[in-house]
């Protein structure tokens, strides 16, 4: 459900950038989404299609690239990718960890015509 709120934020940013860059239409918006985020791709696409109507991104495609959850162990320094939401160091068993990647919710790039 929060996908709708996220899409609104995306469209605001897309419109700002289009204006700054002098775009007349946007054909593609690419997102980077960390796997910690609970984003349902179908809901995102649906929300985007609905909310983009009548905006500069009216006929744009929304592309989503997912970023694995990358962890640094504060105990032994090991770095690893989280699988099955298991936040336990594979090397030493510690749960004292820092998340390096996987929390992203970023607009990576947009494509359009001037």
């Amino acid at each position: 459900m929060h996908e709708f709120s996220i899409i609104e934020n995306i469209l605001t940013i897309v419109e700002e950038i289009s204006e700054k860059e002098g775009l007349t239409s946007v054909s593609k918006v690419t997102l980077l989404i960390g796997k910690m985020r609970q984003i349902v791709p179908d809901t995102m696409s649906f929300a985007f299609e609905a909310a983009a109507k009548g905006t500069i991104a009216d006929s744009a495609v929304l592309e989503m690239e997912f970023v694995p959850i990358k962890i640094h162990c504060n105990e032994c320094g090991n770095e690893f990718i989280v699988k099955n939401h298991t936040y336990v160091c594979e090397q030493c068993g510690s749960t004292d960890l820092s998340v390096l990647e996987g929390q992203e919710l970023i607009i990576k790039n947009i494509e359009g015509e001037r």
Binding site: M1, S5, I13, Y87, I107, E111
Partner: protein, 218 residues
């Protein structure tokens, strides 16, 4: 043409949340964000917590509700400042409405602000509202698989309350599996088991609040 952007989508919400955090720190106010399913016992938890702490602490409450004022009305009997935020259907609170709500309080005279977020285990976990801690509230009748199904909340929370333990014998809730799934998700999580209905088992939670408030007031 392709334009490289690399911009954080929730920047606007995050910037406000950071402002709130800074402001609350200056005012030495502890704000906690209470998140759980509808019916988990969030409002009951607030009632019991306020009853126990209101002689010692100045408490204020922000009630997030989709459309009604029922929960806010339940808390009126305590004669504390309450701001109701009707999200008008939205599934979570955002920092802009929290900032407006906080402006209604005299923060110089406030120790703890409780925010009851909209009943939902998914969306509220995604939005920083400037709280010091997210508190996950879950009841035994919801089942022991909730951490696995809603990992972000249990990963982001600083404390977790398992409520309605008075009903556990009537359910198939498996405490061992529940604890293990929390350990692998968030080894640093503080955990409290209680029955808010019976007002039993709240001591650990109340101590946690007192200690956490003492830390913020330093």
């Amino acid at each position: 043409m392709e334009i490289k952007v690399m911009k954080n989508i929730l920047n606007a919400n995050q910037n406000k949340a950071d402002e709130i955090k800074q402001h609350l720190k200056e005012k030495k106010v502890l704000m906690v964000n209470i998140i759980g399913s509808p019916g988990a016992g969030k409002t009951t938890l607030l009632e019991k917590t306020i009853e126990s702490l209101k002689e010692t602490y100045s408490i204020a409450v922000i009630e997030g509700d989709v459309a009604t004022d029922r929960d806010a009305r339940r808390l009126q009997k305590y004669d504390i400042p309450i701001v109701l935020i009707n999200t008008d259907g939205a599934c979570h609170l955002e920092s802009i409405s929290i900032q407006n709500a906080l402006a209604e309080f005299d923060l110089d005279k406030t120790d703890i602000v409780f925010v009851e977020n909209v009943g939902n285990l998914v969306c509220p976990a995604e939005f920083d509202i400037g709280e010091f801690a997210k508190i996950a509230v879950i009841s035994v009748t919801e089942g022991d698989d909730k951490p696995e199904k809603y990992p972000l909340l249990f990963r982001e929370a600083k404390a977790m309350i398992l409520n309605k333990v008075d009903l556990i014998e009537y359910t198939d809730f498996n405490k061992t599996e529940f604890d293990e799934s929390l350990r692998i998700l968030n080894g640093g999580l503080s955990k409290f088991e209680m029955s808010c209905r019976k007002n039993e088992g709240l001591e650990g939670w109340l101590d946690w609040l007192k200690n956490t408030h003492a830390e913020t007031a330093k």
